[in-house]
Each structure stands twice: as structure tokens, then as C-alpha cells.
């Protein structure tokens, strides 16, 4: 199933490249307005805002692009639990890839002066957990939103408020990393986020079969 998703995505290369381009363009736009950012808080906030919108455009559309025929085909041939697992895993991988691209471009253009030398591993760990968390949440939200007539607009209406807890947690974690606060005092933010993400995975797995009935 994951392979199927990946193949589907490869066939629609324009969307993947489009989203990567979107995030690169956003970073470049930010570069034009800021040049380099010395202030840790701004650096952090800007990076997460760009990642958030990348996530919305990448993962948020994951159920919208299915054509009716494909939907029927999947409905008859695949159990919904397998489908949601495949979607979750695929979206997570996609999001990790996009995060890597965005981070690379971000560091190239805007620089990484606020990041202390030895904090990179913690920063990357935070980015990984954050991306997984975003993609998990937005997968189900996208599945819900795709059922309504208003399409992707609904993803934003439903997703933006509900993503705030994750943003608060990951943002605080990263701000602490940049301030070089000891790992022991900061790890609870990450653990909370992991618990939340696990909860989202569990809920998606349980609830998705109810959505997938037509």
C-alpha cells in the first residue's frame, strides 16, 4: 500500500515538486525580507511557520486528490485500517523529506547563527518528532475534510485550531534548545508531543473506518 501511494505520487510528480518549490519559495521570500536572522525566537518561529504551511499543502491534500474511481477501487479491495496505516506512514515519510528540504534551504539562505554548535542533534530530533506529529494529525483532518464539499479550505478551518497544541509544544522545545537549556528540563515537552502523536495515531486508526464508508 505504501508503495502504491509512493507510485501514485511519482505519477503526479508535479504536486510533489510543486510543494517542494512552494516551501523553497517561501524560504526565499523570508530571506528577501529578513536576510539573516540573528534572533533565536524569530528564527525558530519562521522555520515552524514555513514547515506548518508546507505540511498543510503536502499532507492536507492527501485525500482530496483521489478520483472517484480510485476511491471505489480502494474501498472494495483494501481494508480501511490498512489504508489509513499506509496513508499515515506515507505522509510521515513525505513530511520528513519535505522537512529535510526546507531545513536545508532555510539554513543555506537564512543561516543558522542562532543555533548553538552542540544543539544540532536535539534540534533535528525535535524536527523529526514535530514533522511526524504534524503529518499524523493532518492525515486524519484531511480525511475528514475531504468528505465535505468545500474541499481543501475545510482542512485549514479544522486543522489550524487543532494543530495549536502541537505548535505550542514543539515551539517551546525548540526555543529551549536554542537557549541551551539542559536536556533534562526540556525533554518533557518532547515526551508530551510524543504522547500526543501516539494518541493521534491511535485515534486515526480507530476512527478512520467510520469515515471510509460510502
Amino acid at each position: 500500500m505504501i508503495r502504491h501511494e509512493a507510485r501514485m505520487e511519482m505519477r503526479q510528480q508535479h504536486t510533489l515538486v510543486g510543494i517542494a518549490l512552494f516551501s523553497i519559495a517561501t524560504v526565499y521570500l523570508a530571506y528577501q525580507s529578513f536576510h539573516t536572522i540573528e534572533d533565536g525566537a524569530t528564527w525558530n518561529a519562521l522555520l515552524w511557520i514555513i514547515l506548518l504551511f508546507t505540511a498543510f499543502s503536502a499532507v492536507g491534500k492527501s485525500f482530496h486528490e483521489q478520483r472517484r474511481g480510485l476511491r471505489l477501487y480502494l474501498f472494495w479491495n483494501v481494508s480501511p485500517k490498512v489504508l489509513i496505516l499506509a496513508k499515515l506512514i506515507y505522509n510521515t515519510l513525505l513530511m520528513l523529506l519535505l522537512t529535510a528540504i526546507t531545513l536545508f534551504v532555510y539554513v543555506v539562505f537564512i543561516g543558522s547563527s542562532p543555533v548553538p554548535e552542540n544543539s544540532w542533534p536535539m534540534l533535528l530530533l525535535g524536527l523529526t518528532v514535530g514533522s511526524i506529529s504534524f503529518s499524523a494529525l493532518l492525515t486524519l483532518i484531511s480525511a475528514i475534510a475531504s468528505q465535505s464539499e468545500s474541499g481543501t479550505g475545510m482542512t485549514a478551518v479544522l486543522g489550524l485550531p487543532i494543530v495549536i497544541p502541537q505548535i505550542i509544544l514543539i515551539h517551546r522545545y525548540h526555543a529551549n534548545v536554542l537557549k541551551e537549556i539542559p536536556w533534562g528540563d526540556n525533554v518533557e515537552n518532547l515526551l508530551m508531543l510524543l504522547v500526543l502523536t501516539a494518541g493521534i495515531f491511535g485515534l486515526s486508526y480507530l476512527l478512520f473506518p467510520y469515515l471510509w464508508r460510502d
Binding site: S148, I162, I164, I168, N189
Partner: protein, 342 residues
């Protein structure tokens, strides 16, 4: 009539809340003086709030500074709330800020932290000056009154309105989520109707909670809105349930609408639960009981406050359930009419 006893109870409780929370006075306390610079033997004014300086026969005022106490010579008592005193202070003090204590048999012992500063004093902790010997009475006034809290003062009455709104909202949202779960287990239109109606009523209480909280914040913290985990949580709750209603209006087919919105409702409630219950405990908050702030439970939810607060909570919850029942009947009739027309 027999089935509506709880409605009568609700009205009685809310009347009680309304009268009690506005009529019960505040405990006496001390207000900070604008002129808080103190010199030895200079006459300063002590400003009380709800105090009985003239009525009381034995007024006693003294300053606390570290382990030392300095008694006041009472110059004149102008009114029940104003008193002029003079302190005889040495040049060497434990620290520059002095705590004020006032004691009389009517008001009990009142305390104001950092009431005065003696900036000309030399700080020397090794040479502690002997002050006066006071027999410190710690009895609390027995009057039935709300506690006198610095910065909160009279706004403590809002406790009876602001806090129960959130309790009610949580309960009503719980009703909503339970019906969403029941709908997914057993798709009957009635469950969907209940889930939607209670989400709407819960949203009403969320708005009331935000408004009462905002007014309270304006008069205690100085701004209509502050950055605080509790406030973030409340605002997110509000947005999510507005999103829920938008989602409902975005789906035309009613079986599908019921199913999809039930899924969203459950999903949102679990995330909200995590957000509102666990997140604020990890971070600093201006709310009582969080981030080192004392909770109302620890020492200052005194018996008089409890006597009003608990009935208030019950009263508001009953009102919420009542609104929900009426709305539900209205929506049931509406859906009946709608399906008959078809």
C-alpha cells in the same frame, strides 16, 4: 411538576448565587499607600479596606522586618479606614522593605507585604536591632465574608460566574462526545441531533467563559487578553467547536454529515482534553494553582466562598442542561418537520 424539580432547584441556586455573590462583603484588609517611603518618626497613613478602626477599641499596628518588629505610635484615627501612625525606626535594618501588620478585635490581624520602604536605612543582617515586643494575635476575623486577596479584591465575586462556565462547558461537551461515540456504534439520527445540540450549547458556555474571563483579566492582570496556557486552551476550544459547526454546514448529505462530524468531535475532544488538562500543568500560568501560583483550594477558598461557589457550579450546570433540553426539543421538532416535508 415532579420531573422538573431540578429546574426549580436551578432557579433557586442561581438566585442564591446572584444575591450571595454580590451581597456578601469582603474581609477587611490593608491597601498599599501611594506614599510608601518611610522615615523614622514621620507620620504616615494606613489605609484599610472594610476595616473598623473607629469601632474597635484596641488598634495595634506594627512593622515586621526580618525577625524584628517595630510598634507604631497611633497619632490619630480619622475614620474606619484611615489611621495616622508614626514609627520609631533605627538606621540599621534587616532589609529595606517592611511588612505592615494591623490588628484589632473587629477585623482580626491584617497583613500587607512590602507596605513601606525605608530607603535611607543601612542594610546589615548581622546587627539586628531590637524592636518592640508585640503579642501577635493571629486570629482571623470570624465575619462571614469573602477573602481579601491582593490584586483580586472585589473581583473575587467573578469566581462564581467565570469558573462554573468552564465546568458546564466541559460537561456539555462530554455529553456531545458521548453521543458522537454512540452514533458511530449505532447510527440513529437522534444521537447526532443530541451531539450537535450539546456542542452548540457548550459553545455558548465557552463564549460566556471567555467573556467573563476577559473582563476579570482586565481588572486584575491589566489586559483583556494575556498569553497564558489556560487562555490558549480556551481559545483553541472555541475555534475547534466553531470548526465543528462549519464542518457540519459543509456537508449536504445528512448521514454523511452525522458520521463525519462525529469522528471529528471525538478526535477534537481527546486533543482538547490533553491540551486543557495536561498542558497548563507544565507551564507558568497566571491562573491560580498553576506554575507556583497558589490555588484557590489551598488556603483561600474559605468557607464562605465555598458556600457560594459549590451551589453556583451546580446551578450553572443545571442551567446548561436545561438549555440543552429545550434546544434538543426544538431541534427534534425541526428535523421532524424537515423529514415530513420530504
Amino acid at each position: 411538576m415532579r420531573q422538573s424539580w431540578w429546574k426549580v432547584l436551578c432557579v433557586l441556586l442561581l438566585f442564591y448565587t446572584l444575591f450571595a455573590s454580590y451581597l456578601i462583603p469582603l474581609h477587611s484588609g490593608l491597601l498599599p499607600n501611594e506614599n510608601n517611603q518611610l522615615e523614622s518618626n514621620e507620620v504616615v497613613e494606613i489605609i484599610g479596606y472594610n476595616t473598623h478602626f473607629t469601632e474597635a477599641s484596641q488598634n495595634q499596628a506594627f512593622l515586621g522586618c526580618g525577625p524584628t518588629r517595630f510598634c507604631a505610635e497611633i497619632v490619630s484615627i480619622d475614620s474606619d479606614t484611615r489611621m495616622n501612625v508614626r514609627f520609631d525606626l533605627p538606621d540599621t535594618l534587616h532589609k529595606k522593605s517592611l511588612n505592615l501588620f494591623v490588628n484589632n478585635e473587629k477585623d482580626g490581624t491584617m497583613f500587607l507585604q512590602g507596605a513601606f520602604f525605608k530607603n535611607s536605612a543601612v542594610v546589615d543582617t548581622s546587627r539586628i536591632q531590637r524592636g518592640c515586643e508585640v503579642d501577635v494575635k493571629t486570629e482571623k476575623s470570624s465575619a462571614f465574608a469573602f477573602p481579601f486577596q491582593p490584586t483580586i479584591f472585589e473581583t473575587i465575586r467573578n469566581l462564581m460566574f467565570h469558573v462554573p462556565m468552564w465546568f458546564t462547558m466541559f460537561l456539555i461537551m462530554l455529553i456531545s462526545v458521548i453521543h458522537s461515540v454512540r452514533y458511530l456504534a449505532n447510527p440513529i439520527r437522534e444521537y447526532d441531533l443530541r451531539a450537535e445540540t450539546s456542542a452548540r450549547v457548550g459553545l455558548l458556555f465557552a463564549i460566556l467563559g471567555l467573556v467573563t474571563g476577559s473582563i476579570w483579566a482586565r481588572f486584575t492582570w491589566g489586559a483583556w487578553w494575556v498569553s497564558d496556557p489556560q487562555l490558549n486552551g480556551a481559545f483553541v476550544t472555541f475555534l475547534i467547536y466553531v470548526g465543528y459547526l462549519v464542518l457540519r454546514s459543509g456537508i449536504a448529505d445528512d448521514m454523511k454529515r452525522a458520521r463525519v462530524s462525529a469522528v471529528f468531535n471525538i478526535f477534537a475532544y481527546v486533543i482538547l482534553f490533553i491540551l486543557l488538562m495536561i498542558l497548563p500543568k507544565f507551564t507558568e500560568s497566571l491562573h491560580p494553582g498553576k506554575g507556583g501560583n497558589p490555588g484557590f483550594n489551598t488556603y483561600d477558598l474559605n468557607s464562605s466562598l465555598r458556600a457560594v461557589f459549590y451551589p453556583a457550579v451546580l446551578g450553572w450546570i443545571l442551567l446548561g442542561v436545561w438549555i440543552y433540553k429545550i434546544q434538543l426539543r426544538r431541534n427534534r421538532l425541526r428535523s421532524k418537520l424537515y423529514y415530513n416535508e420530504k
